[in-house]
Every structure is written in C-alpha cells, then in structure tokens.
C-alpha cells in the first residue's frame, strides 16, 4: 500500500538535489519565524503565517490579490513547483500549502520530516536570504471546497457528518482552553464541538524524525475512529494550523476526497455565542 497521492510529498534527498532547480521554489514556513534567520535551506524563501499570510486587519488570511503579490515577490510563477518545509513536524508548512491550494496553486509538495529531519541528517543551513526576480502571478478564485466556516459546522452538525478535533486530549476534554502560564489564543469556553472525534494531529507523524506514518498506520488511525474515505470531513484545532496537517494527511496521503479545514477552529467556536459545546 502506498500513499494515495505520493506526488505531494518529497524527501530531504529530493530537496537537496533540487536546490538550484529554477522550476522549484522551496519555502520555509515555521511556527517560530526567527528560525529562518538563524539558518535555512540554501535558496529557500520564507513565509510567516503571522506577518506574511494573515490579513493585516481582519481575522482572515490574505485576499486573492494579496496572495498574488506574495507569490510574485517570492519569484513564483503559476508553473513553479512549490515545496514547503518547516519546524514542529511541518504544521505551518501544511498551513501554507493549504493556503496555496486555496488559491489554486496545485503544484505543491511537503518535504517529509521538515526541518527536524533535515537537521538530523546534518544537512547544511545557510543565512543568506536569496532574492528572485518578481513574477506575474495570477491566482484562481478561492477553492471553498477545502475551507470550512462556522456556518458549515452548524450544517455539519445538522447533517450528522464527521468532525475531527486534532488538539491535545486535555484541550478536547475541556480541562484547558490553553496551556498553564500560556494564555495564548484563549477561548472563553472549553470543550469540543459535539460529535467531534479526538484524533490528535501528532498521531499522524513519527515522533523520531517528524515524517508521516505509513499508509497502513494512517488508515488504521483514522478508520479506527470512523473517519472514512467516503465521508465529508471537517478538521479543526485551535487556530487551524495543526488541522491543516491533518487535512493534508487525509486528502493527499489517504486520498479522502471531501475534507475541509475549519481555520476559525476553537478560538472561534469557543467564543461563539449560542454554539453548542460538549465536554
């Protein structure tokens, strides 16, 4: 058994062999955005979920026009193969990939294992920030089929369709709205969306080197919780970054066709008046 769409994954060796490939743009997307400055893969550019990918004013990510501007500045054309990698088992790499897919850039890949594996293999990191000639980039209309909004969640509940909560067990059970001493991105209520099953995102990756688990292991993990290929599935976490990794796994590694990421996630649902919550 292999991954359903193995073309969305490359290994570190592939990246090492394509550093000078003009048709490939390597993008680092981290949870801790200073990591890029401290050292990155030669030729890689950076996107930061907070300063590059978010809308400057609204709680939303870039508009289509703003996305085109970012892609153009990074020297990406509509034909460029874009490879993402990052820290923390590629959470934010998956988030960036999801956003690129949202605006129709389909030729995207994740470097399996991300920064963790690259560093474990003692591959070189550099400090030089490359610059690429600006391109003309035209994005497609947003692909709403991969993004869920709060109304989609209410509909999902009404139609009794599957929801996957990928946060840690204590966030799911409602013991915590955030970690002790770290009141980040809090919500006024704790718990989970009713009927959501708990499958923490980290179960999809190997702790040792941050690579994805085997197709057999992934299938057993999700099917074991009744998250199956024919389902219309919505994944969520706290701000939508960990669930983009789960979205990537379900959609490309297992080949589920109808999977959405709810990026409003718990910071929206746990603050929403009149929204049902289970503990």
């Amino acid at each position: 058994m292999s991954y359903a769409h193995p073309e969305f994954l490359v290994d570190t060796e592939w990246v090492a062999n394509h550093l000078k490939d003009a048709n490939v743009r390597i993008i680092e997307s981290d949870e801790d955005s200073l990591l890029y400055a401290i050292g990155h893969i030669e030729g890689a550019v950076q996107v930061d979920w907070f300063s590059t990918l978010q809308h400057p004013l609204r709680r939303d990510f870039l508009t289509k026009e703003q996305f085109e501007e970012v892609a153009s500045t990074l020297g990406i054309t509509n034909d460029t193969t874009v490879v993402f990698y990052g820290d923390k088992s590629n959470w934010f790499a998956a988030y960036a990939l999801w956003l690129f897919q949202y605006y129709g850039h389909n030729n995207v890949k994740i470097m399996n294992g991300g920064r963790i594996k690259w560093e474990q293999e003692k591959r070189p990191l550099v400090k030089e920030v490359p610059s690429y000639a600006k391109t003309t980039y035209s994005a497609k209309e947003a692909d709403k089929s991969i993004r869920a909004f709060r109304d989609d969640i209410f509909k999902q509940l009404e139609e009794k369709k599957p929801l996957v909560d990928v946060r840690s067990p204590k966030e799911y059970s409602g013991e915590l709205t955030h970690m002790p001493n770290y009141p980040q991105e809090g919500a006024t209520r704790a718990g989970h969306i009713p009927t959501a099953v708990s499958i923490p995102w980290a179960q999809a990756v190997n702790e040792a080197d941050a690579t994805f688990k085997t197709p057999e292991e992934l299938r057993a993990l999700y099917e074991g919780k009744n998250i199956k290929a024919d389902g219309e599935i919505i994944a969520y976490c706290r701000i939508g970054e960990r669930s983009s990794l789960t979205w990537f796994v379900l959609k490309y590694l297992l080949g589920y066709e109808k999977v959405k990421n709810y990026d409003g996630s718990w910071t929206e649902w746990g603050n929403l008046v009149d929204a049902p919550i289970e503990k």
Binding site: I38, M179, Y182, Q184
Partner: protein, 141 residues
Amino acid sequence: MTLPAKLQEIVDDIASMSREEKLETLIAYAESFPDLPERFKEERSKMEAVPECMTPVFIMAEKDGNGIIFHLDIPPQSPTVRGLASILMNGLNGSSLEEIISVPADFYHPMNLQEAVSQQRINGFIGVLAHMKQVAVRISS
C-alpha cells in the same frame, strides 16, 4: 513605574528601533542565549515538558547576595521564545526580589514588540515573566 535599570535600558533601546532592527536584536539575543549551567541539568531532566505547541520553558533561580540570578533553558528550535526570555534574563539578573515582583505585566508596551512578533508570543513572554516572579518568591521564602 520604576524598572530595574538594566531592564529599563533594554526597553528604551528596543523602543527606538525599526521593525527590522527589533527582529535582528531578537535573533542576536536568541543566538547568545546561554546554556543551562551543568549543576541544574539533573533537576532539569525531572521536569515535564509542556506538551503540544507550547515551547517548554524551564526556569531556575539562585540568590546572589541581595540579588537573584535566573537560569533559563529553552530549546534552540524556539529562537523567538529564547530571544524574548533573554531580554528578561538580561534585564532582571542581579535585581532584588522586590524589584522583580514590582515589574508590571505591561512594562513591554513601549517596545512595541507586536510589530515584530505575534500577540501569542507576547502573551508567552508575559507568562515567562509571571513564572520568573513565582520562582523568585519561592527561592526567597
């Protein structure tokens, strides 16, 4: 409000910087982050790591005459947290317990850090300060 002189100096310095200079300063702080002294490593290994996305921050302190010296351990994979914590370590080390617990939670406002790092990081930074105060009180009682 009166801050310990060293902390005040750092705050004033960063307040006058552009966004790029702030980022460079944070990187410099992160890169000069000291290793945890050997004598704390055994105690460190007994601590539980904070799970999930939160960076594990380990805080120790010891008395040095009337002052308190902090020792922090934060993984190099988290340079932003290291950089911010380093500001606190550099600004507070050697201060007395009274000076440390009098640092208001909003002392960082003039630095306008939110133009360089996310609010989530700043909240974490304030969490580290609160935690440092608790440790300082604990070793002083």
